[in-house]
Symmetry: none
Subunit: 420 residues, 2 copies
């Protein structure tokens, strides 16, 4: 099977000065177009090493996609090195020179002698026009089994050139024969390994394939189908998605662009319910998560950041005696915070978080990572204890606390038999 | 000259599902430590292709740094493939199994058979302990001219393991000979181009070098020196840093690990002052930023998320008539929010934010991106109008609002002649 390799040229990548967003963009595009892609390489602005990478890539891929090294400065060497690699001279393209000169006039700038270099392309290469900047790329078949595309390193220029010139070319050359379509199912409240065991048989599927991912406490399953059309791909995905959702049950909270906050928001809106939050260790992070969703003002009314105990008493009505007896990190206080904020803001739901984010403040009885989440509904108050551990740091505990709070509310909103 | 190669393993990278921040982190670290690094490779979770990448890398580098493929699922193959590459068996490490089991208990979860796999390492490899997660890495010299380090793909785990284990090992093995030391000066309230013009002559320096960066509204200047020792590098940096700080004035808020929240926290602590916040469009983001700092409970008491106008009135005492006349996004309401939260929480300072984050809700008179920040001190209340624009989206407006609010408080805390 023919495949592509992405080759990013630039010493700034080796120094870590920039993040390689071009590789991600091209990878997504290749995946979307169904073009196989098994390797990516990064190399500095050094002719010998670029040649070495080209030789390696020619042994394992048929489509070489370059970014970077097309600029006017002396360290921009991609085209000159490619010409050397395949033993052809550089040829000056007068139409490129004219185009560059025109663009400079348009921006009120003067063309420098350096820019002449950008008009030199390997003999036999076609110009891959750059509508945004001065550096054109090339489309070149130096050998029958090698196709080369080059793009500037500037992401905005790469994207336009990819969309407008490269995709039509690849389609015309038969590189795009089938469509890859994928669905990302998202889970909360289940570990990657437990979910992996539950859905183990699905990992053997060939089309669609199912693969697990995990990050920041969230587990995902990607279902990917290869087909002649998007409809056909969707037909392959739908039954597998339904089965996975059944196996996942309530742990599966959504798909693709869904977040816990967006799913909770939709449920609240559907039910005409409203929400207020009371946050201690998250310090506002739960509210910030909820208000990331544009339109959240229709169901999220606000809340209280009760970081200091005095605020828990003064603004939420937490009982000072209970605070003294049970401590701020307790079922009792979590429940009083949730009920307090629900009552004071006059919302359907009150959701609270109190815990020890660390790294200091833990004890044997109440270790770092211990978090209580309180949930007050129309007919009652509930609380939940979680132990997120100290090993992954303060922000991890805070992030998990906010997500888990949203997840408790989500499950209560979905559970028709709930006491709330 | 001996050099390193970064090899990132993971089909998710080839699909473009994640951005390769690990490669950037490692590249920065290698640059900082003065370890030469000429190539990066990305390959999927495929044993044959991983082997191919290892063979290529062994021909051109002596230190191979792997990320990814250490997890518990069947597609995590890095260690098994490396063992195959160098013809050694995998050996189970009981101490790793115990460590994994302990971590599972600590989080109240059950270890699965899948996790046993993570205790299998190539024979002869040392364990590179993972204090954050279940997957350990390895330090291994399978041949005299090849050193292998492996890390999980989870960035937080990689970073801790790199700092705590890999750097000391590389120093002990003589990989770190000259020191690159750098200082990052951070600015708020000045644009990159204005700052660049002010400090233009510094960009011509050779050692240390000075280079500008900008992201998320923050401008930075990196001063980088190359020397035989950290002290010698520091001697090169210090005078340049002093000059840059003078040119920057109050716009320079800190360096390196400082954040606006940490700098404000230190100033509050020094003055024995306390802070409360009232947030509308940021929805808790300002509080979340302040409480990222461990120990912030000594000066940050909490606040009110007054997303709905009823909360502004009920919990902050904003005048309903002013709300109706001037609108929630106004100088008047920002000032009443700041004073209200200061009075109700009994703190030295009250800081408020009310604005239009977008993408909807703007008008000709009050466009998306219009934000008012209120600041109430012991002797008065002030407010500030900002227009952050609509073009960069909701999260941009919210982030800039929170940072700018902190910056106003910082300048007031630094200004001895302030009215507050």
């Amino acid at each position: 099977m023919k495949s592509a390799e992405i080759i990013c040229v630039g010493t700034e990548l080796l120094l870590g000065d920039i993040l390689n967003t071009n590789a991600q963009f091209l990878a997504q595009e290749l995946a979307r177009l169904g073009i196989a892609h098994y390797y990516q390489s990064v190399v500095g602005d050094n002719p010998e090493r670029i040649q070495r990478v080209v030789r390696t890539a020619c042994d394992r891929a048929q489509l070489l996609i370059f970014t970077g090294g097309l600029g006017p400065t002396p360290d921009d060497l991609t085209h000159a090195t490619l010409a050397d690699c395949f033993g052809v001279p550089l040829v000056e393209h007068p139409e490129i020179l004219e185009d560059i000169a025109r663009k400079f006039v348009g921006r009120g700038r003067t063309m420098t002698p350096n820019n002449r270099k950008q008009a030199l392309l390997p003999e036999g290469a076609q110009v891959l026009t750059n509508p945004r900047g001065s550096a054109p790329g090339i489309i070149w078949q130096p050998r029958s089994d090698v196709t080369i595309l080059t793009f500037p390193g500037v992401p905005a220029e790469l994207k336009v050139m990819w969309q407008e010139v490269a995709i039509p070319y690849l389609k015309a050359q038969g590189w795009v024969t089938s469509t890859v379509y994928s669905r990302l199912l998202k889970f909360w409240g289940i570990s990657e390994s437990v979910l992996a065991e539950k859905v183990q048989p699905f990992f053997d599927l060939q089309n669609p394939t199912v693969a697990p991912y995990a990050n920041l406490g969230e587990v995902k399953l990607r279902i990917t189908a290869l087909a002649d059309s998007e409809t056909a791909a969707q037909d392959l995905i739908t039954p597998v998605e339904q089965q996975l959702r059944e196996v996942g049950g309530l742990d599966c909270y959504g798909a693709d662009e869904d977040s816990l906050a967006s799913v909770v928001g939709e449920l609240l809106q559907t039910k005409g319910a409203t929400l207020a939050v009371a946050e201690s260790c998250t310090g506002g992070g739960l509210g910030a998560m909820l208000t990331q969703i544009s339109g959240s003002s229709s169901y999220f009314w606000g809340g209280v950041i009760s970081y200091d105990n005095s605020v828990k008493v003064r603004l939420l009505g937490v009982n000072p005696q209970d605070l003294a007896d049970q401590g701020a990190v307790s079922h009792t206080v979590a429940q009083q915070m949730a009920a307090g904020v629900r009552d004071r803001l006059n919302t359907t739901w009150g959701l609270s978080i109190t815990g020890i984010a660390g790294p200091t403040g833990g004890s044997a009885e109440k270790p770092v990572g211990l978090v209580y989440i309180g949930l007050a509904g129309a007919n009652g108050v509930q609380s939940y204890e979680h132990r997120f551990g100290a090993s992954q740091g303060r922000e991890w505990v805070r992030h998990l606390s906010a997500c888990t709070a949203l997840d408790h509310l989500r499950r209560s909103l979905l559970d028709e038999s709930s006491q709330f």
